[in-house]
């Protein structure tokens, strides 16, 4: 019997482990990508570990990128005359004679399967054309090399900054801390507003009897069904009238006016507190506000934490809201600033995007890891009624 129970436990653990592995693989991939140099982030076939390669180029041994393999044998030549003088070129043996053989000087033979390697020059634009060569695979050495500098560079470049010093006359470079600060302001104020306003409103629905209460609550629930697109354009108009477009206000002020989901959540919880408590207080002459503030609220710690954490997690990553309402770079939140790695034409700077994303999710991961017990308990207690 005990063996069977132990086997079941072990199998369960193995199953959980397997599924957890599936869930965590994309994260590992994200972190792995964040440590690679740009050219390896999109290597096909994909690799897990970032490497640095060294190979002989000309007479030196340099750090190189491994580009592609030659399929044919041939000769590496250099032009000695004509307008291409000085340039290298690979001439396959099978190539037709292009009449320019006299302008070229052979450097060395190349066998099929050799690798084309290019000198790896750090920095955005190389000052001069990087050197390249074609070498056999055996001569390329590789070692694992984590590019931790990606993180600092990613944070510096966040929001579209440049790696050059700030241009004369322009605004000072904005960085990670400004965006993180904006995110923090929006999230913390939002949490405060969410917790306070929804608690007050939920009390009104849960602990007071008044005419029209149930109908009003039904309407409240109905608003959960309203899709965001219905609200989007007129809401923008509302904020425009208030002159709040371009500021952070539209992202946190509405939290002080309640939200249907949280009202529902808190109401469920408030209903579990025994009515006798309120009655006793009322007999003692307490006002409703005092009952709310002194009795109900202190008992609601778990669910308030749950509501607060829910909102923080949502607001930290929210990008639709900032996308619609924020226009000035100084006001951008982290989630929005992450978009800046998607250059319109230049492709995505994957390594920076992943590095910045990893940094962005770190606070919420830590928050969740430590708050999860309260979080879940808070939601759980909304269901229990005595």
């Amino acid at each position: 019997m005990r063996l069977r129970a132990a086997t079941i436990r072990f199998l369960l653990l193995a199953l959980l482990g397997g599924v957890a592995l599936l869930f965590v693989t994309p994260f590992v991939w994200m972190v792995a990508t964040s440590l690679k140099p740009l050219e390896q982030t999109m290597a096909l076939p994909p690799t897990w570990l970032p490497r640095s390669y060294h190979a002989p180029v000309g007479n030196d041994r340099l750090e190189v990128t491994q580009d592609f393999q030659l399929r044919q044998a041939g000769t590496l030549c250099r032009y000695t005359a004509g307008e291409k003088a000085g340039q290298q070129v690979f001439i396959p043996d099978a190539a037709a004679d292009d009449g320019a053989a006299g302008d070229r000087q052979a450097l060395h033979r190349v066998a099929a399967g050799w690798w084309h390697v290019t000198e790896r020059v750090a920095g955005a634009e190389p000052r001069r054309a990087p050197r390249w060569d074609i070498v056999p695979a055996e001569e390329i050495s590789s070692r694992i090399h984590f590019h931790w500098s990606n993180y600092s560079e990613a944070l510096e470049l966040l929001g579209g900054g440049t790696s050059e010093a700030a241009v004369a006359g322009g605004r000072p470079r904005l960085g990670f801390w400004v965006f993180a600060g904006n995110s923090l302001v929006v999230c913390l104020l939002g949490v405060l507003g969410t917790v306070l306003s929804n608690a007050v409103v939920a009390y009104g629905f849960a602990r007071l009897q008044w005419r029209g209460r149930d109908a009003f609550f039904a309407v409240t629930l109905a608003t959960l069904m309203v899709p965001f697109p219905v609200l989007m354009v007129p809401l923008y108009g509302v904020f425009r009238q208030l002159d709040w477009i371009g500021t952070l206000l539209p992202l946190w002020v509405p939290c002080f006016f309640g939200s249907a989901f949280n009202i529902f959540l808190l109401k469920q919880f408030f209903q579990t507190v025994p009515e006798e408590l309120s009655e006793a207080a009322r007999i003692d002459g307490c006002s409703e506000w005092r009952i709310f503030w002194r009795i109900i609220l202190p008992l609601s710690k778990p669910v308030l934490i749950a509501a607060g954490v829910f909102h923080f997690l949502f607001a930290w990553n929210d990008f639709m809201g900032p996308l619609l309402y924020l226009t000035r770079k100084e006001t951008f939140t982290l989630a929005l600033a992450l978009q800046s790695y998607e250059s319109q034409i230049g492709g995505v700077q994957w390594h920076y995007l992943m590095a910045a994303s990893a940094v962005t999710i770190l606070p919420v991961v830590i928050l969740f890891f430590f708050a999860q017990k309260h979080f879940i308990q808070g939601i759980a207690t909304t269901g229990s009624k005595n």
Binding site: M42, L44, D67, F68, R71, Q88, F90, I91, P92, A94, A95, A96, D98, H116, T118, A124, E125, P126, A129, G160, T162, V167, A168, G169, G170, R171, N182, V185, L188, L189, L192, Y236, R240, I245, G246, T247, L249, W252, L277, A280, A281, W293, R294, I295, P298, L299, K301, L323, L324, T327, R328, K329, S340, E342, S343, Q344, I345, G346, G347, Q349
Partner: protein, 477 residues
């Protein structure tokens, strides 16, 4: 006996009322930080022009260098650069919100619809105030660029960086296939022939390992093939997608590539380098596709990602009989949103970028547009180039692109306000045809019908708002 109250005594007492009040006060102080930012810029006595642009990385750096030069060259105006993604949408929303930037970097194809939507401020009066007629202003550009910045008889933007699209081919692959690496295909027939000879399969699995040409790489302007064949998308009054037979010919040609090679094989082949065009794994750069139409910016990317690539750049093969040097021209433009607070100052910057130092002989003497275009490795939209830009241009193949820009057969996006939708419909038709999900007739017919309805609706809407439907383009130089 414990009362109900004591039985539920909380473990943690809630902050007292005064404590709560202090907390609230502190936080509202913080909230002040989150409120509306101070209007305008720093107090330095200069006019600050907010400029939204889509460029980051080296393109952004190039523009910031030009901005620094502009800021240095006078002491009245300072331009503040802000890179923004989804700039067309954001600009509309900001303009509607009454707080637009003073200057915005759009694409030329945005101008027709934004102008009709009354989102932009025309520049004609600024030009006149500077002592020029609009015709004189436009005559400075190559015709295709002059046409691009006009709509309904008014000028709505200046050019920041132009581009023309040329024909690129991989010389190494040409050699391997036994073709002369310095002789690109000159006609459509030759292109088709070369494409066949440059397509290779894996002997073991039959999978495609290399393609000579594939219309969907890069797949940003498949509609240009219709114009290349001699067709038209819009004749100034009506949609002509399905009514012009040349468009159909072009679609059949596109279909041919999938038919000849097998739909599944092509699908597998193309999914490999998915969306990674600016990387060493891009199909052309990694030697997967031998010939491609790409823009003036491409040389820079090749230098960055595949410096050893042996490639050539040349004009388009001739498709429609007698039409030489056909090409697609596009541009990034600078426009002033309606309601911008510092329109005049923004115009000064547009002027700066749309002029050059015609006597520049060294890189340090470059000014304005030529400085920007040389840093971004593009050509200049102006007819007159400085000696340095002409003879010592950092772009190795600039002459080809200049030749194409100057060509009378250079074409741009049709000047129609519903272009966004037209473009999406065309892409959908293109996808259906290249995936063999519909015949070219079906696909074009469907798109034609939708676009005709859409265009009618658009015209009605313009009439409803008291804007007359767009007249034929004026100011043609």
């Amino acid at each position: 006996m414990p009362t109900a109250r004591t039985a539920f005594a909380p473990a943690l007492s809630f902050p007292s009322w005064t404590g709560g009040r202090l907390l609230l006060a502190g936080l509202s102080g913080l909230a002040g930080l989150a409120g509306p930012a101070a209007a305008g810029g720093p107090d330095d006595g200069k006019v600050h022009v907010t400029y939204w642009e889509k460029w980051v990385s080296f393109e952004g750096q190039a523009m910031q260098t030009v901005i620094a030069e502009f800021n240095r060259s006078q002491d009245r105006i300072v331009v503040d650069y802000l890179p923004t993604s989804q700039i067309d949408r954001k600009m509309i929303v900001a303009t509607a919100g009454g707080d637009p930037p003073d200057l915005v970097g759009l694409w030329a194809y945005n101008l027709a619809s934004f102008a009709d939507a009354e989102a932009l401020r025309p520049l004609d009066d600024f030009i006149r105030a500077d002592g020029l007629t609009p015709e004189q202003w436009l005559a400075r550009y190559y015709p295709v660029y002059a046409r691009m910045i006009q709509h309904s008889g008014r000028i709505y933007a200046g050019i920041s960086t132009p581009a023309t699209i040329a024909f690129y081919w991989n010389k190494t692959l040409f050699r391997e296939a036994g073709l002369d690496p310095d002789r690109p295909p000159r006609t459509l027939a030759e292109l088709n022939d070369y494409a066949r000879r440059l397509t290779k399969h894996d002997p073991a699995t039959g999978a495609i390992t290399q393609m000579g040409f594939l219309p969907q790489d890069p797949g940003w302007w498949p509609w240009i093939f219709c114009l290349w064949f001699g067709g038209e998308l819009f004749d100034g009054r009506q949609i002509t997608l399905a009514t012009n037979p040349k468009n159909l010919e072009a679609m059949r040609w596109i279909e041919g590539f999938t038919r000849d090679n097998g739909a599944d094989a092509v699908k597998v082949f193309t999914s490999g380098a998915f969306g990674a065009w600016a990387s060493a794994q891009a199909p052309f750069m990694s030697g997967k596709i031998a010939m491609v139409f790409q823009g003036v910016w491409y040389d820079n990317y090749i230098k960055q990602y595949k410096p050893g690539l042996d490639y050539g750049v040349g004009p388009w093969p001739e498709a429609a009989a007698g039409v030489k040097d056909f090409c697609l021209a596009e541009a990034d433009v600078l426009a002033i949103p309606r309601g911008a607070h510092h329109a005049r100052e923004a115009w000064e910057f547009i002027k700066y970028v749309n002029s050059n130092n015609p006597r520049a002989r060294t890189r340090e003497e470059l000014r304005g547009g030529e400085l920007l275009c040389s840093l971004q490795q593009k050509l200049s939209p102006l007819r007159e180039w400085s000696p340095y830009f002409e003879q010592h241009n950092p772009h190795p193949n600039i002459a080809v692109f200049r030749q194409l820009a100057a060509s009378p057969n250079a074409r741009a996006t049709p000047d129609i306000g519903v272009w966004q939708e037209y473009y999406r419909e065309f892409i959908a038709a293109f996808e259906r045809v290249r995936l063999l999900e519909a015949t070219p007739e079906e696909a074009l017919g469907f798109a034609h019908r939708r676009m005709t309805e859409s265009w009618e609706r658009y015209r009605r809407s313009l009439e409803r708002h008291g804007q007359v439907p767009p007249a034929a383009p004026g100011h043609t130089p």
